[in-house]
Symmetry: C2
Subunit: 204 residues, 2 copies
């Protein structure tokens, strides 16, 4: 039997790149991957479920968690606070579960520092024009919000080299297959098996 610590998969993408759809689909296709639910002070979007997509909390509550150092990472995005509670994440990894975290570039950098063995995946739309079109089709954002998201996307895309993998999301089915492949492949990496698979237990 191969036993190992779980692997932390961190997925980042500019808004509109398709990250949320991909992460939702991965949870359906690989139900053994745990999904870390972040806390946020922003208001829910249509269809978002409290406790499933995010834990939607008040800023006061967020500040208390920060003070108590209960967050594995935290960031301010578009004026809202986002954070990942550390305790459930540590517990899942320690029990050998792979965990998927859907998070912005600031959070990803903090997680890399804390978990150097984490696998970082960056998802991009095939072009800025395509990204802008997707943001407009969403119709939930005002013009000034779209401009702000595009400016931030440019900043985030510049950081793609910090990630282990890059998925260009031209087609959801294809991007999905690549994200699933990254998770399956990383499970076969000998470097991850090294500690818990010391002598290749083939029975003789």
């Amino acid at each position: 039997m191969i036993r190992r610590r779980g692997t932390l998969f961190v997925v980042s993408a500019p808004s509109g790149a398709g990250k949320t759809t991909l992460c939702r689909e991965i949870r359906r296709r690989l139900p053994d991957v745990r999904y870390s639910v972040s806390c946020t002070t922003r208001v829910p979007r249509a269809g978002e479920v409290d406790g499933a997509d995010f834990r939607f909390i008040a800023e006061d509550e967020f500040r208390v968690m920060l003070e108590r150092e209960e967050l594995a990472e935290w960031a301010t995005v578009h004026g809202h606070l986002y954070g990942t509670p550390a305790a459930p994440l540590e517990a899942a990894l320690g029990q050998g579960h792979d965990v998927l975290l859907d998070i912005d570039t600031q959070g990803a950098a903090q997680l890399r520092a804390r978990y150097p063995e984490a696998v970082l995946v960056f998802i991009v739309a095939p072009s800025m024009a395509e990204l802008e079109q997707r943001l407009r089709e969403r119709r939930s954002d005002a013009e000034s919000e779209i401009a702000r998201r595009l400016a931030r996307a440019r900043e985030e895309i510049a950081l793609w080299r910090r990630y282990d993998y890059l998925i260009v999301n031209r087609d959801v089915k294809d991007a999905m297959e690549h994200l699933e492949s990254i998770i399956l492949a990383e499970r076969c990496r000998t470097a991850r098996l090294g500690l818990t698979f010391p002598d290749l237990e083939v029975t003789t």
Copy 2:
């Protein structure tokens, strides 16, 4: 457009681990992966096609290629010579094609030295007992040959840490999915895109 040098995928396994079946199936599922045909001085097994599975050549001819340094790697396995012609391999990689090489541990070590960026995959049967059973079911080998293959398998399995990935072949479908995932995932690695994808060409 992402343009890059092709990646060399090197697959090794003890006889009976299922490598030949997996490599044949990968060629069907990922037809854009080139398959490097090795030369060998051993006689063809039932069903093996000259020029497709191996180039079956005389020992004299092999020695000439060796003298002319036309081989990227070569090895003696079970008393027979095996080698990979360097020119077609270099050409395919240079043109951006991924190449799959099905090769023993000696050859894999030589290829790692020559191509440090190669991806090495090791495939094992779930146990030595299972491996022995598979060798017996093949029915093409004499008892002494089976004993020799098992002894060699033990030596090869001890080298699994030299490989990037380990696939435990419990089930062909599952092992196939993992091998395919490794190839798809490696195509997304930012380290491989680094040289040819310097500024993430998102058109604005």
